[in-house]
Symmetry: C4
């Protein structure tokens, strides 16, 4: 249950960052001002998330319920969890302001950090030479590329950025299947069992 309490507290922290209300926002400048008001909240989230990560690590050592991973692997994993736990904020922002450039860019940055973390974990994973792990890193590079392209497209027109993400969601599963079958053949289990 300890892990659950940590996971929930770390994820709920993001709910202190408020999505500005539609009624208060008339122009793009209002949107920027309202977002700047959330900067201390984002800083507070970052600080407490980092402290809880460290605390969980120490707690975990005493409980010794889990197998040890290397320190660098754990750091990349915490970066990934940070991006995942942060997701409800940009997703809520996008739902409220789908026509704002920064909604799409913030969502894309969040997923770019997640994709980078996966790639970082891969660099350290002991099984990184296996066909399965090479497939994992290729898919996360596709995600990173989608994030960067979606940010650039959103700078021109937010809807194009969104469309790229929809293409990603629809296309990534067939792509993963294709890679598994024809490019990196290695059974459907990563560990080479």
């Amino acid at each position: 249950m300890s892990d659950g309490v940590f996971a929930i507290a770390m994820t709920l922290l993001v709910f202190n960052i408020q999505i500005p209300d539609l009624a208060d926002i008339k122009t793009g400048a209002d949107f920027h001002n309202k977002m700047q008001e959330q900067v201390p909240h984002i800083f507070s989230w970052l600080l407490s998330f980092a402290i809880l990560c460290r605390l969980w690590l120490t707690h975990n050592h005493l409980m010794s319920d889990h197998t040890s991973k290397s320190a660098s692997f754990t750091s990349w994993n915490f970066l990934l969890l940070g991006a995942v736990a942060f997701t409800p904020f940009p997703a809520g922002l996008l739902g409220e302001y789908p026509d704002q450039t920064w909604s799409v860019i913030l969502l894309s940055i969040t997923y770019a950090v997640a994709a980078l973390s996966i790639a970082g974990m891969w660099c350290i994973a002991p099984n990184r030479a296996s066909a399965g792990a090479r497939r994992v890193v290729l898919i996360s590079l596709v995600m990173l590329l989608t994030s960067i392209s979606a940010s650039l497209l959103a700078a021109l027109n937010p809807f194009w950025g969104l469309i790229l993400w929809i293409v990603y969601v629809l296309g990534i599963a067939p792509l993963a299947h294709f890679l598994e079958r024809y490019v990196f053949r290695g059974g459907d289990k990563i560990e080479g069992e």
Copy 2:
């Protein structure tokens, strides 16, 4: 803890979809207008839920804490989890507007998707011929039938739809017990232990 952070972020996404306030709603037309305002939020939820599902799958391959399931089985499972994570929204809508046809229909659709996913998982499960698995699929078909009937009844009168769901909740446990004892006898463990 990683799984927990993913599960929580994916479930909390649905809380960005706001239940329209009772004070703002006077007629059925107001209700429809307010619901349409939530369409971008529902789209944003779908997009982020799908991306997080994919990310979890990739992450899980690197962590290799879990036994591999086939890709189709995982897809059906994600559809089920999507329906489950979505539940707080139609449940909240029903609590606020129990007399609105669409509250009952949206709840029923959510559970229909869940029942369909269970049936889909059954089609692929390696143990689908066992008595236990046949019982599972029959119960999920009863749930699917209840969902469809409750939607149709709600179109006439929302309360009839609700009564059907109450009948389902009260009747499904005895039905499962009856099936287990007299129809598909196969011990009380699915795996045939």
Copy 3:
């Protein structure tokens, strides 16, 4: 992760039940009226909680990650989880209205249901004759008695009910320790290992 999504969705359902705002409430009668407005929400929570319980059971059979427990044991456990998941509502109500009789009574009823479920699970548990299990049931009977007494005291004066709960919280750990050491001796592990 599936278990996590179910657990979170089931617990978050209770957040659709709103704690009436302090500003709107002047008299005890206002409090009752506001609480009655939450009745459809409580009904909706009950309905969706019950459906999700059933769905999880079916899903669990297909995934077969868990050891099977008997159907009655699972039912008592779901009743317990329902009481636990409901806790944030009476706890929030108590924080907002510590001087209202019904805040204390609702909190006490919630814990009475939890204590009853533990007792119900004990009746079916295969290891119920062991010293450890007899200790568990005695402690849950103390909790049930506290709930009933606190409800009765709160009907006279809500603060007396609260004080009884504080006595319970402070006294139950020493009581459990005393029972373990002098009354039901059976090692500190329930299973008699």
Copy 4:
């Protein structure tokens, strides 16, 4: 799933404590008054958290899914989980009022309690003589010292307290690495495997 429902209900309890609204607060005195209004909520959170901890312990004995820990170890762990579950409140307060002394002090007290619990768990842990466990307790003492110093600094100027926490977050990982390599050499696994 039972553990998940307990963990979530215990963590969500803290969301009944409301962060005072920026618009209502003009002076430090307003801030104190608004915080005092939250005292019953904090009391209600403490009460329900303690009751749920006890309930989980009893439930866990009946389910016997977990290995038994000693009663004192569990108590320290519950104190830690309480501090962790409480975190979203001071973190939200800090995000809303980064310039208020009490925001930083409350955050520091929360982490001081967490660090103390880790130290308390260490005193009882059977493997406390190992190099790894000595490292854990040293890191938690650094955290405790940071909490106390940050509180004192915040009494002079809240921003200095924050800067100390930032230094902690940036410096603790290199410190842990240094201790592991040069001071308490004991492999990178605590259990001495």
